[in-house]
Structures are given as C-alpha cells and as structure tokens.
C-alpha cells in the first residue's frame, strides 16, 4: 500500500480538484516553485492562468480571490505563514465571510485559504508560530484542522468544493505524519463530522490537529489503567457536537487538548458546551497554550508554551480521579 505523507496528501487534493473542476485556481507567493511543497508540480500541470505567483500583497490578493469567486471561480490561496492571517483577517472575516448574508444570499464566495505549516515550527519565533484557528471559529468562518494524511486530503477537497470560504490549517506538527493508504480510497471528508481514532470508556480526549497523535500516544501509555477515547473534531467550525455528546454518553469525562491560546480558545468553547449540554460526571479540563501567549524563540521556551503529553496525561488522570 502506498505510504502517503500529509504534505503530499494536500498536494494531491489540490491537483485532483483542479483536474476535476477547471474553475479551481491557485494563488500564492512562490506557488510556482512550491516552496512549501503543497503546490508542487501544479504550475507545470495546469499552467500560469491557474497557478499564479502573486506579489507579496496578501490583502489585495485575498480580496482579489473574493472577486474572482463572485465571478465564478474557486480560488485556493496558499499563505506561507499562519500570522499572515492577521494581515488578511479583514479580507476573510469582514469581507468574504460576510457577503452571503449581507447580500441576502445573492452571492457565494468559495475561496479556500490553506496554511501549510501552522503552529510552532521548531524555533521560528514570535511571528511564525501562531495557530489562530480559534479566531476563525469565533467569527464563524468554516475552519478545519486535519490530523492525518487521509483527512488532510479529504478535508481540503471538501473545502475547495464548499460554496463558502474555508480556512484549512495544516499544523506543522502534522506535516511529517505518514499513512499507508489506498489512493483509490481517498475521498472528500464532510465538514462537521468528527472522527474517533481510538474508542474508550473512561474519558474522552478531544484533540485538535497534530495533537491527535499526542493524544493517541498518551492513550496508549495509559492503556492498562485508563480507557481513553480519542475524538478528533477535524473541523472546528462547524463542530461535531452530536459526535462529542455521544462520546460523553460513553465516558462522562472530558479533556480537551488544543494548541491555541487558552482565553477564548476553541478549548474553552468545547468545555463550555459540554458543561451546558452534555453528560459529565467530572469537571472537564483543558490543556492549551497559556493565555495570550507569543511563542518565544529559544526552543525550550517555545516548547514550554505548547501543550505537552505530560500535561495531557496529568489532566486525564485528574479527570478520572475526580469522578
């Protein structure tokens, strides 16, 4: 069975969708030579009218894609750095996202924003280590964070086909993940449908993005003593609330591990919703970056701000003891 890397899965999804639909086009900086690899080979395959190297003008080309989408295309924009989303928050949250409602349903803006390498990449310091998915979930922009190569393929394909703007975060911590897959079995994955990577009965760990792999490792470590269910929401907006409720029916205990800042992060929303609406027999817990964190440069400091397996394990043990 072929062994597919996460990055190659993204690349394959874009290529397959461009093959399938001539309206799909790609904008971004250095997408021609594919410095991030996500767009490798696409310029040669589809030509410069469909794969466009843009000047370093994120704000202009992000809304340029909005206009192109209103005129019938399905642009995908690749951003080299997750913090560039702060530059184009206006263009995504305040323009692309709002057009459907503000026009009373007269238009749609099917643009995909791809972030290959979100979150900390070993010591890239303050302006290259953000993981701002919670911001987009907060404003209601469709937001996905795939954890595995086949989900990266399937969620990106769905994002490209979706009639609304969708931000796809590909965590740098997941880019190296590989998976044996049958290429014929690669298929779109719907938004808003979570995935249980491992069943369990004592506690549900909701893990976002690359942290799914840490959660699986912790579940394995604890296998003799605690039965951990690992739930990967895959998309944060829409979120699979019924999938989470079903999992909590089985376990009654909840730990969320989320590589974004604690205050107003997606982890807070998951915990709050579970507390309001779902079966909990112990207080829910969160493992996140600190409040308002900016990742420092020195590797040890950078790591000190990210959720760790040890923290997750401690949180799981606390949750189990408490109920």
């Amino acid at each position: 069975m072929p062994n597919l890397s996460y990055l190659k899965a993204l690349n394959r999804a874009i290529g397959d969708e461009m093959d399938r639909d001539p309206d799909v086009c790609v904008f971004g900086e250095d997408v021609g030579v594919a410095v991030t690899h996500a767009t490798a080979g696409l310029l040669k395959r589809f030509g410069p009218e469909r794969v466009l190297d843009t000047p370093i003008s994120e704000q202009a080309f992000t809304s340029f894609a909005t206009g192109a989408a209103m005129a019938g295309l399905r642009p995908l924009i690749e951003f080299q750095i997750p913090a560039l989303l702060f530059l184009v928050f206006e263009q995504i949250a305040n323009q692309a996202h709002k057009f459907s409602l503000m026009t009373g349903g007269q238009t749609r803006v099917p643009v995909t924003y791809l972030l290959p390498g979100s979150g900390s990449r070993e010591s890239w310091a303050g302006q290259h280590s953000d993981h701002p998915y919670s911001l987009f979930a907060h404003v209601g922009v469709k937001t996905v964070v795939p954890a595995t190569p086949s989900d990266a393929y399937g969620l990106l394909a769905t994002a490209i086909r979706d009639d609304d703007p969708v931000v796809v975060f590909a965590p740098s911590g997941a880019l190296g993940v590989r998976e044996d897959v049958d290429f014929a079995g690669l298929a779109p994955v719907p938004l808003g449908v979570g995935r249980i990577h491992r069943g369990g009965t004592d506690v549900t760990v909701v893990a976002v993005g690359h942290l799914v792999h840490d959660a699986l490792a912790v579940a394995e470590e604890l296998a003799g003593s605690v039965s951990v269910e690992v739930f990967d929401p895959r998309s944060l907006f829409p979120f699979d609330w019924s999938g989470l409720a079903a999992s909590l029916e089985r376990t009654g205990r909840l730990v969320v591990v989320d590589d974004s800042n604690r205050s107003c992060g997606i982890g807070a929303e998951i915990v709050a919703t579970a507390a309001e609406e779902m079966r909990l027999i112990a207080p829910p817990r969160r493992v996140t970056r600190p409040d308002g964190a900016v990742l420092p440069f020195a590797r040890g400091l950078d790591l000190a701000c990210q959720p760790t397996r040890a923290q997750l394990r401690a949180a799981v043990e606390k949750a189990v003891k408490a109920g």
Binding site: A60, F61, G72, L101, M102, T103
Partner: protein, 330 residues
C-alpha cells in the same frame, strides 16, 4: 451631445440627465426617511457627485460589474438597480435588494452587476479587480469598475491592487471620486504627492476628469473601458467633485464645522443636475422630472409598505451552502 431642442425624453443627453436626477431625487427622499426614522443608521448622501455615477455607468454594458463604497446609492442606481427595492433595502424590508440584510452601505444587486457597496474604505477595489481577472480568464471582454474616494488612496490594499492590476493587465477601471474630503479631512492633508502620481508609479494611465460634468465623465470612462476591454489593463480616473451635503446624515444634528458656508456655496454652484439639465430641452427636463417624482413616490410607498423581516430569519443566508449556525441568543 445636445439632444434636438424639441426631441423626446430619450437620447444620450436626456438619459444622463435622468440618471443624475434619479439619484438626486432618491437621495432627497432617503434623507427625509432618515429624518422620519424609517431609514435607520443614516446614510452617506451622494448629492453633488451624481455626474460620476451617471457618466461612468453610461459607459458600461449591463454585463459589466461595479463595486461601490459607503457612499454607494448613486452607483447602484446608475447601474440599473430598481429604486423601489433600493429604498426598501434602506428601510430594512424583505423586499429590499438584499432582503433587508445589507442596508445603505452594503446595497448589492448581482442581477445588474453590482457586486456590492462596501463599508470598509478601499476594500472593494481588489474585489473588482479579481472579478475582472476572472472575466478575462473566462475569455470574455467584460470589465469591472471600482469606485473609491480620495481617502481610499491612502489604503494599502488599494495600492497593492494597483500593482496587481497593472502587472496582470486586469480589465478594471479605477474611479477615484475626489470630493475634497475624507469625512472632515481635506485631501491635501491626507494625500502626499498626488492621486494621479499613485497611478503613475505603477505605470497605470491616469487622468483627471471634471466629475461635475456627466458627459465629460462618460467620455473619459468610455475610453478607459475600451482600454480595458481590448486587453490593455487598468486606467485610473480621478473625478473631481464636491459633496453638497454631510459626510453622513449624523452631521445634520451634530454639525461639525470643517468647511465654510462660502466654500459650500461655491461647490454647490457647479451642480451636475443643472449642467446636464441645460443640455436638454426644458420640456424634456420637465417630463423627466415629472416621471421621476412619481416613480420615487412609488418607491417610498413600496418601501414603507413592505414587510419587516421575521426575526427568526436573522441568520438566513449566513452560509451559501445553507449551513445553520448554532442558535446562540436566537
């Protein structure tokens, strides 16, 4: 372009007059409805600037598109939107262009090529450019035209778009409405260098046009549109004009002072309505005025009598796919 002295209410000069007069009349009614609290949130009156909307749209085909600004009523009407549905939109009614979801600053009518007025200064310029690029890519000769104010030329995204549009020869016409002010700030106090100089920096052909004269605007736009349609890329038109009324109707009560009465009087002396009105026979003008008065009366009645949207539908259309968000407070 003077119509025959006894001609009917048709012909290009009369059509331009009608377009200017429609916008003028619409704005007057809208201001009355703001005062009557039928239109909430106020409006940014376009009075005095009508020649630009009328002249530019007269140079466009129905299948060309525009993007507009917070001061967008004139553009939307000149492009062909139904005044009654536009008025209903200002009044927040279900029969409005945007089903009451957009209001004054977001009026859109995709059916006539209005991709939306936009409340963020400069934000719609790249949207027009992207649409124009998509047209060219589809092999059509449609063009896009984007309106923006003198204040917008200090926005990075506008200048970034100049670069993209020139680099990729995007068929977009860039129309700067220089009314001398960004809210209270004079153009000279906010624009270093010149507006045309910004275009020159990107190799974009640019000229200044008398934005109080509908025919001058039409001629200049026709040239810019032909330039775009034949694959030669963007043009910038700086249309000089004067805003007769407030920046926004809140000024009617707050009354900030940033220009003198003499200055306003001088500005009002060059009135596009009179300039174009003088080019058609008085009888034609009277006939058009009478037709518009009735049409606008009907528009106001239509807006006032149309239903308010059901609060339960507040988040309809949030997603083009029909996805429903969680209820929250609803």
């Amino acid at each position: 372009m003077t119509d025959a002295t006894t001609g009917p209410a048709t012909g290009p000069a009369a059509a331009l007059y009608r377009s200017v007069a429609l916008i003028r009349g619409f704005e007057q009614r809208a201001i009355e409805l703001v005062r009557a609290k039928v239109v909430l949130g106020g409006i940014h009156p376009y009075t005095g600037q009508e020649a630009i909307a009328a002249g530019t749209c007269a140079a466009l085909r129905p299948d060309d598109v525009i993007t507009s600004t917070h001061r967008g009523h004139g553009h939307v009407l000149a492009k062909g939107a139904d005044p009654a549905r536009m008025m209903a939109e200002l009044a927040g009614r279900t029969t409005g262009l945007n089903r009451g979801r957009g209001g004054s600053m977001h009026a859109a009518d995709f059916g006539v090529g209005v991709l939306g007025a936009n409340a963020i200064v400069g934000a719609a310029v790249p949207i027009a450019a992207g649409a124009a690029w998509a047209f060219r890519r589809a092999g059509s000769d449609r063009v896009a035209l984007s309106y923006f104010g003198d204040g917008a030329v200090s926005q990075g995204v506008v200048l970034e778009t100049f670069n993209l549009a020139a680099l990729w020869r995007v068929p977009v016409v860039l129309v700067c409405e220089n009314n001398g002010f960004a809210t209270s700030m004079r153009t000279a106090d906010t624009v270093a260098g010149s507006i045309l100089g910004r275009a020159a920096a990107f190799g974009i052909p640019a000229r200044t046009v008398d934005g109080t004269d509908p025919e001058a605007v039409l001629d200049a736009t026709a040239e810019a549109v032909a330039h775009a349609r034949t694959g030669r890329g963007p043009t910038l038109l700086e249309c000089t004009t004067y805003r007769f009324d407030a920046h926004h109707t809140w000024e009617h009560t707050a009354r900030p002072r940033y220009r003198t009465d003499a200055e306003v009087a001088a500005g009002r002396a060059r009135d596009p309505l009179e300039i174009q009105g003088a080019r058609i026979p008085a009888t034609t003008r009277d006939a058009i005025d009478a037709e518009l008065a009735e049409l606008l009366d009907r528009a106001v009645r239509f807006a006032c009598e149309s239903p308010h949207p059901d609060p339960a539908t507040a988040l309809d259309h949030l997603y083009a796919t029909g996805m429903r968000a969680r209820a929250g407070a609803l």
